[in-house]
Symmetry: C2
């Protein structure tokens, strides 16, 4: 095999087959079929959840993960927050001619590692190659299928319910920002990219979780805005209770950025009844991905349709939805 | 809305939501949910088929279709040739900043038209935007879910079985070739891009179809090579019986290209028992997409593992698998 991707690797001919067999299937090992085709036959009972996400993150590798880590965790989490057990992923890659096979191999190895951890199989795949200058290294689409186990019940949300965040907020977005070309500071920020399915399923086993969402693009503030939109109640967050790593706190302050709008790739936001909050928090904290979980606010009768922050200074601030993220291509 | 895609359309914030609502959902109409999210809950009984395909065709619009037509038909056909009824598609788009919204709108309209014809719903979607120069207009991934209805039985294939092609071969690849920048000839070639699911399901209703495959990248020769590989029997094609449009025949001869290796996006290859061949052909010919269907060869005890062509001149020629397609980005 050459050491770089050539246009022929996308032809569907022998070069494509060798790439799939010698790189993809070899690196994916037990999490993929022996010869990965573009389709798979699967057995599903009951209701299924179907999700899709394309990943165009830049740079392809970053502290805490790479585009492969992201492509598995992101889609696993999308399925999990719908109350489903993720089982199968598809893997569609668009490669730019000229990228190093070594890099691709590292990325596929990350896919295998995270799929194994999440307990999902990569059951079908597709490889395309575009000319140099017509892509950006590698784009990945993963679609996910899961079996619905604990349907969410957002219609039962009422004032008094508690809002839980499963850990420190803003890590992924801030880590990506400080990695970007030309960024003047070194930091020890790391992406929080992680598969949350086991932790969220455990949380749902113990207590009624009314609603969940992974707080990716747009961050915690954006998903809460989507939750509250057009509802007869509002969301009131307590800034003092929001878990923040020192590194994110430092960079946010320095740059004047709000970590509540910064992307997470290993954090979910949950709404639970007040009586269930302590038990859910206990379960979350038993996971390495939930150690810093905290109740960060409540559903309130005031401010219907709005997400409001009670700031450290005791003032109230409405958190609107971002028109556009100042930092493109974080996932 | 601006008339071009901006990076902010991929932010996950308000601009993304407006693009999804005002362009995608509006154009998709009844084939998509009112507000398209990245996940959907679906009910499936029995075995499901799951496929994925990314589309990077260049140019984005061509005679007979566009990347949207292709993204629906290609994935619908992938599901259908596994013996399943396609029901749901995901839609992941990667847009290059700067593309015209008008172009995107035409493409989404094609998606709607073909989804309606195929009887599938677009149930979940995702939109990402990359900087100008880091993509090529629009890349699309569609993953498909179908319910298995007529499982294929390739293990029952035996010498004497007939090979059917559902129509003229090579149209899509040749049409794309003559569209490419710098190609010196005008032609009236058109892509054959079409959803084959209804026709193939009808063919399977009437008779045992042992094996089917859509003959996309690599053409009829490549899918037959994949069929015969490592089998105790071979494939013998009769060149005289292979349906060819005059336009494809002309361009192929002029350029010295073999239409058997040229991509199709609306043709399938079937293997049926000799006794069923006439009935299957009858059913296929009732569809507008199967008018030119023909028996083009047989499974033979000779040439195990190989695909052999009995040429017009009466000589035998082995059809190998292409290492690499001379024409990149045809789908």
């Amino acid at each position: 095999m050459p050491d770089k991707i050539l246009l022929g690797h996308g032809s569907g001919g022998r070069m494509t087959r060798e790439l799939v067999r010698d790189l993809f299937c070899r690196q994916l090992g037990d999490v993929a079929p022996d010869s990965m085709d573009d389709g798979a036959i699967l057995s599903a009972d009951g209701k299924i959840v179907f999700t899709t996400d394309s990943y165009v993150v830049s740079p392809l590798e970053f502290p805490g993960g790479d585009i492969g880590t992201l492509a598995v965790c992101g889609t696993v989490n999308d399925v999990a927050v719908m109350g489903a057990r993720p089982l199968w992923l598809s893997l569609g890659v668009i490669l730019e001619a000229g990228i190093e096979l070594d890099l691709l191999e590292r990325i596929v190895r990350s896919i295998a590692t995270k799929a194994r951890e999440a307990g999902v199989k990569i059951v079908c795949g597709d490889t395309k190659v575009v000319e140099k200058g017509k892509g950006d290294g590698i784009f990945i689409n993963t679609s996910g299928i899961g079996v619905l186990e604990h349907p969410l019940v957002p219609e039962t949300i009422e004032p008094g319910d508690k809002i839980i965040v499963t850990g420190t907020v803003g890590d992924h977005g801030m880590a990506l920002l400080t990695m970007r070309k030309g960024f003047p500071l070194k930091s020890d920020l790391k992406s929080d990219c992680a598969p949350l399915n086991h932790m969220l399923a455990a949380a749902q086993e113990g207590a009624d979780v009314k609603w969940m969402r992974d707080a990716t693009r747009g961050g915690v503030a954006t998903v809460l805005n989507e939750l509250a939109e057009n509802r007869p109640w509002g969301v009131l967050l307590q800034e003092n209770d929001i878990p923040l790593s020192d590194a994110v706190a430092g960079v946010s302050e320095l740059l004047g950025l709000d970590p509540l709008y910064s992307a997470n790739e290993g954090k979910a936001v949950l709404v639970v009844s007040a009586s269930a909050a302590a038990a859910v928090l206990d379960v979350l904290k038993q996971s390495p991905y939930g150690r810093d979980a905290a109740v960060v606010g409540s559903i309130v009768a005031d401010y219907p349709g709005k997400t409001v922050l009670n700031t450290e200074m005791g003032t109230l601030r409405t958190l609107g939805i971002l028109a556009s993220d100042p930092l493109p291509r974080i996932c």
